[in-house]
Structure formats: structure tokens, C-alpha cells
């Protein structure tokens, strides 16, 4: 009986110690999660934004009443919508989308689901696993309703970018 108590006490103490060790574990500050991301230059587009994914997102998603708002996880900046606040003092409808704004749009797209994005870019998952496509295609609830469908110019623009060979013509058409 006494031995059983000792075993039980040791077991409880060990469990408590293990729990405490796990609970108190400090995350490795040097740890890096690598993300395989599609190309930024193709995202931005060849001709001052034209022919890229960024302009498509600006025009189709980034209006001030939708993703052109600071509170959105997928926050889109652009010439006709939300402007990045800096010394340039840009306002909606003013100067062309800046390099910083293209970069922030890129970060918003990549940062939405970085791990899944990695799997898609590496060809392990189809592009439809991404919210970037699921929402506008209404594969899951989207308050803004359907924005594009499989096979149209916007779909081809985004999926070709994810595959590493952006269909510039589709991107140009979709942004008009």
C-alpha cells in the first residue's frame, strides 16, 4: 500500500513537472518558418502595375467599402482605394499605386495563409485551398458575394501567378 502511494506520488510529480516544462517552454526566437511565395515582380506586373495580380486585386477587391479598409485581414491598397499613409500624401483617386502599396498588397496576400500558400506554390495542394480563391469563388462565405468563377480572366490571372507563370493578358483583362 505504501509502495503504491509512493509510485502514485512519483507519477503525479512527474506529470506535473512535464506539464510545467512544456508550459514554461520559451519559443525559439531564432526559429524561422520558411514560406515558399510566388514571385513579387509578377504580382506587381510588368507595366507599372498593369498585367499583374496587384492591380486586379485593387480593382476587383480593393474598393473603400470592401478590402480597401484598414481593418481587413486581406487589406488592399491602391490608386482608387485605400492609400498608404506616408510623406507622399496620396489620396484615393490620386497618384498611381506606389511600390510600397504593391509590396503591402503582396504581403497581405501571402500572409493570409502562408503555410497553405507554400503547399500550393510547391504543387502539393490545388490553388482552391486558398481563401484568396475560395472567398471570391463563393466556395466559402464571402460577404462581398461572387467576384469571379473558375476559368475566367481573374481566376486565370491568380492561378497562373501561383504556378509561377503569370498570364499577363488575363491579369490585364481582369483588371479592366
Amino acid at each position: 500500500m505504501g509502495a503504491l502511494r509512493i509510485v502514485a506520488a512519483v507519477a503525479i510529480a512527474s506529470a506535473a513537472l512535464a506539464t510545467a516544462t512544456i508550459a514554461c517552454e520559451v519559443p525559439d526566437s531564432g526559429a524561422v518558418t520558411e514560406v515558399a511565395a510566388p514571385d513579387y515582380n509578377q504580382f506587381k506586373g510588368p507595366a507599372n502595375g498593369v498585367g499583374g495580380v496587384s492591380l486586379l486585386l485593387e480593382r476587383r477587391c480593393g474598393t473603400l467599402d470592401c478590402h480597401g479598409q484598414l481593418g481587413r485581414p486581406l487589406r488592399i491598397y491602391g490608386q482608387r482605394g485605400l492609400r498608404y499613409v506616408d510623406d507622399a500624401g496620396n489620396y484615393p483617386g490620386g497618384a498611381l499605386t506606389t511600390e510600397t502599396e504593391h509590396q503591402l498588397n503582396y504581403q497581405a496576400v501571402i500572409g493570409l495563409q502562408p503555410e497553405l500558400m507554400t503547399l500550393v506554390v510547391q504543387g502539393q495542394d490545388p490553388p482552391e485551398v486558398l481563401m484568396l480563391l475560395r472567398k471570391p469563388m463563393q466556395l466559402e462565405r464571402h460577404k462581398g458575394g461572387p467576384v469571379f468563377v473558375s476559368g475566367d480572366a481573374a481566376y486565370n490571372c491568380i492561378t497562373s501567378w501561383l504556378a509561377g507563370q503569370t498570364d499577363v493578358q488575363s491579369c490585364t483583362t481582369a483588371a479592366q
Binding site: T63, L82, P92
Partner: protein, 205 residues
Amino acid sequence: MWRRTFGLALLIAGAAIAAACNADPVHTQEVQALGPEAPGVPAGPNHRAGQPCLVCHGPEGPAHTQFVVAGTVFYGPSSTPTAVPVGVENANVTIEDDTTATSTFQTNCVGNFYVRAQDWPAPGGPQFPLLVTISGTNQMGQTITDSMLSHIGRDGSCGSCHLLNDLPNDYDTPGLVHLAGVDDSNYTGDTQNCSPVPAQYGGGI
């Protein structure tokens, strides 16, 4: 019998609590942020020019009349501190929806216009996204037509995005919906029938 009575009492109590409680605090806060009616401007088609109409006139109320699109067309952009926003009467607001159904609505004497679902030529009201063009006559008698650069994605209130541009940063508003490119201090609107200067404009949410 007592169970049924108790159930009914519980239901009534629940309904009373739900009615008394704030079902959507965010919406309530938006309504409260609009402030009270301006003195001398009764609730009606001429009130609250420039404010986001659908905050109250949307599905969540509290206004009885529901709009699907509504807003105010001002004369100039009011781009200087002395340029007071003045609404434009009889401006045409042409809306084209996703199905290419198109309809034109006219502003009243304070510049307000509104579209109810039943005003739209197709059943169910306009389908977003919408393209909008305004037209009207300036002080020199010239007809001006101007279209929005972007579409409207989903918010039927012009005033949600089109705020008076007096913020320190105008990074998220293109300013008031305006007909003329420049302000004109001689334009005073319909001072006979309307408040010459809308007392409240620009939202505030």
C-alpha cells in the same frame, strides 16, 4: 398546464430582454455616432445630408424606410476650410448594376437621393457591384457628367466612403460626392425650401 404557462412566460421574458438589450452593439454605436437631428431639419428626405444613409435605413434600422442605395450630391468638393458643402438639386444619379440594369434617380433640394428596392427596375433591387455616374448643371449653366473611378462593392451608403475631406489624413476617402470640380461661393442651393448649408455632413463613423 403550468409547464405551458411557464414556457410562455419564459418566451415573453426572453423576447423582452432581447428587445431591451442591444442586439448588435456595433450597429447601435454607428447609429449613435451620427448624432441627433440638426436643429430645424426634421426627419425626412431632407435630413442628414452627407451622412451614411443605410446605417439607419438599412436592414438593421432603426428607420422604417429601407434603402438599397442612398446619398448626397454636393456642388463642390469643399476642399478649403471656408468652402461650405451645399447640396445640388436635380442632379441625376445613374446607377448600373452587375446585371447591367440601369436606372437614374434625381436629387432633392438638399442634394439627397435614395433608392428603395422597389424603385429598381429589376426585382430585388440592384445587384452589386454598382457603377455610378452623376450629372447636373453648374453655375454657368454647363452640364457636367462625372463617373466614379471605382465600382461600389457592397455598401449602398455614399457617405460611408465619401466623407468631408477635413481629416488630417485623407488616405481613405475621396471626399464628398460633388458635381463641380471647384467650389463656388455664389452657389447657395435652394435657400427658400431647404437648409442652405446642411448642418451635418461627412458621416462621423
